[in-house]
Symmetry: C2
Subunit: 454 residues, 2 copies
């Protein structure tokens, strides 16, 4: 067993440095992104870590290959973070790590800086205390996960040999609940697009032109309203093509997971839940595709007929859905709704990814369950699914032929992507101990990874 | 005849000073609003002009009552301006008056600083060249017209005796087209309200919560889409209560006004016009109430289910509609659309105003037509309507019992309320000459105003 610190002071201080770098992949300049990458490189000096160019924000790679004959894992994570959203909604500044009530608050602390920090600390302690790692480990930390990893595919394809591994272990992802250790066996795919509706060649006075021209906001809301029926079913023809109905076995497996709608409603502060009828909340969350309007904007709080209105939409995809086919189906539906007098454009973002799954009896899942069981004795380790998207998983399977184990100590309720993102402090040392166990189990014993023929 | 300058240089220079004061009633601080008010006071030194408190932004009043036995008019206008909207869309900075292609560009130049400047210059020249005005003139310039004149009613009610007049002449408003002189015999009322839809107690990750909760943007677009049918009819029950169908006489009067849909489409850059079926464009614009979504906002361009979405709506009202009853009808309709899992709130702005009309044979209309005919010889003076709103008109009728003549040399296409607002330079001297004629005609001859019994 490795020896970890007896309190969290050093961990928090180091993580605070990392969170202080506002590495928002959507907005930050190169110097800021480089600062976050350099922070990682410094932690991985023993693994020949280095900053590499991708065509977008740089990535960090490294490797320690001092265990010949042992399996090799590739640890994946990201150093970029989401935009802050409205600063007014943050209790404390997003890039100043706040410690409060057993939680750390700051943008990126749980997605994905904290979870990445845990594995860095574990491998550093292996080197410091044992002089070696239990197996070969490669590292890949990207800087564009929050914008859909636009440059990762080309980079990984071009460097597949340098990234070769028997398993990818992702420090990104999240356990679905703090009270029950769990491993995810699936994540949803992602497709993002904008709908832009334009009307006249300028903003018009709402009195002097009202009643004579199509208002782009009206045109947009008509389109957006047509995407679901009032019960919450997606009405886009072809959207569900290839999606298998839930089997009885899947329904039983999901029903076995403790889940109370009343608790979920209370946590979210809503009077009622909403979505496709005939399915339980967890069935919808884990197994059904979604189409959510993330943002909408047009005009302003004064008397205009705006000349443009637009919305940002993301679809979460499940196995069987092809992102390009879904994009085409949504575009066809949207364009068919356009009223005369406005122009409607659908802008599909590049980088759509299909859903991902790993078999429940894969050695990595079995090793992961045992590692969690040792850290959380007496608690069942559940097999859950990630309703979010990890684009890298599909890519690694295609390029280096390895499955991905999600091994994150983030929790789904920690305000990922929202103001006041946080991480529970006890997770720091729990996560480190679990990573230690996982690496040992994958190296030796009944869950040992079979090294590929290379 | 008064003698005016032989070119516009001095007029433009003085107007540039006035436009340079960013008197945005929605945002500006007191000192900025006072600066605009002081600029007016300086121009009206002969009329004992002074700044008066209203409880909101100050107003400017003054009077020259040196024509005993002659009628009295109250000249009304406003010194406040609309917000700029996006600065990126302005060709030149909004508060630096630009001279280009026979036009002056700047926020407020045509609504209402330029039109007010014209009448100030005329009365100053009367005093300078003739030592008197043809009739008694009072002045009232407010600083809150663009935010719905919230404090004007109380001020006018409390000072009705000081503002007493036989006619109000408004330097606000706009001719509907540059090529044809016109007078307006009606303006629409206004009702503004916000619809706010709230969901969970925070923004949620669109993957980790997608498919389980009602998305407030979805809830909002469903509500907004329900306000019109696809053809553009307003579907709110009770919205039209009290609105008379168009009479054959009105339809004939409007049909006599030259108007080409093709030209209108080309000016606006749209492929098709839109609105209540069965009516001509001008009939819709001039005589039908509207409900326009001016602005919409919620979430952002990232993967969230936002916790709130909202829209700003204004309704333009026609004779027969009571603003409070319309507000109640819209609120009832909106609340009835709320889906389970979201909260819907309707916030009606105070200060709703009904529509306004003046009879086509009122002496003021007859005098105005003659004044315009003298300035624009050979061109028909049309009777038009203002599809915009002038809240002060209804107020003056209620409080001092006087009708209002709109006598503005702004034109409806001059980007009022939008970026790149402009005023046609020739309108400066045309407007001054017309004001001179109007004041002379109202004082003497067949269109002389009958002084009220006071």
């Amino acid at each position: 067993m490795l020896s970890f610190d007896s309190d969290d002071a050093r961990y928090i201080a180091e993580l605070a440095e990392y969170v202080a770098i506002p590495s928002i992949s959507r907005d930050a300049d190169r110097e800021t992104m480089l600062a976050a990458a350099r922070w990682l490189v410094e932690k991985l000096d023993f693994a020949d870590a280095r900053i590499v160019e991708t065509g977008g924000h740089p990535a960090v790679v490294g490797e320690w290959l001092g265990a010949p004959g042992a399996p090799t894992v590739l640890v994946y994570g990201h150093y970029d973070v989401q935009p802050t959203g409205s600063l007014d909604e943050w209790i404390t500044p997003p890039f100043e790590l706040a410690v409060e009530d057993g939680r750390l608050r700051g943008r990126g602390v749980t997605d994905d800086k904290g979870p990445v920090y845990m594995v860095l600390e574990v491998v550093r302690q292996f080197m410091a205390q044992e002089g070696r790692l239990p197996l070969n480990v490669r590292f890949l930390f990207e800087g564009e996960e929050e914008i859909g990893s636009p440059h990762l595919p080309d980079y990984v394809r071009a460097h597949a040999a340098e990234l070769a591994a028997d398993l990818v272990i992702s420090a990104d992802g999240a356990m679905w609940r703090a009270s029950e250790p769990s491993l995810s066996i699936a994540s949803k795919g992602l497709l993002a697009l904008d709908v832009v509706v334009t009307g006249a060649n300028r903003d018009l006075h709402s009195g002097r032109y009202g009643g004579t021209v199509a208002n782009p906001v009206h045109g947009l809301v008509q389109i957006l309203d047509s995407l679901h029926d009032p019960d919450g079913r997606i009405t886009v023809a072809g959207f569900d093509d290839g999606v298998a109905p839930l089997s009885d076995a899947e329904r039983a497996e999901i029903a076995a997971v403790p889940f109370e709608d009343a608790d979920y409603r209370a946590e979210l502060g809503v009077q009622a839940l909403h979505g496709q009828p005939g399915l339980s909340t967890l069935e919808r969350l884990w197994t059904r595709p979604t189409l959510e309007i993330n943002g909408i904007t047009g005009g302003g709080w004064y008397t205009v007929i705006p000349h443009e209105a637009s919305a940002h939409i993301t679809c979460r995809l499940v196995p069987g859905q092809d992102p390009q086919a879904v994009a085409a189906a949504v575009e066809k539906h949207v364009l068919a709704q356009a009223v005369p007098g406005v122009r409607v454009e659908v802008r599909v973002e590049p980088g759509g990814v299909p859903a991902y799954t790993i078999a429940p009896d894969h050695p990595a899942i079995r090793a992961g369950r045992q590692a969690l069981a040792e850290v959380y004795p007496g608690r069942d380790v559940l097999l859950a699914r990630i309703a979010g998207t990890l684009p890298a998983t599909v890519l690694f399977e295609e390029t280096i032929g390895a499955k991905t184990l999600f091994f994150s100590f983030s929790t789904a309720d920690e305000l990922l992507h929202a103001p006041n993102e946080f991480l529970r402090i006890p997770r720091l040392r729990e996560g480190m101990r679990a990573w230690e166990q996982l690496l040992r189990l994958l190296a030796d014993g009944e869950h040992r990874l079979a090294p590929m023929n290379r």
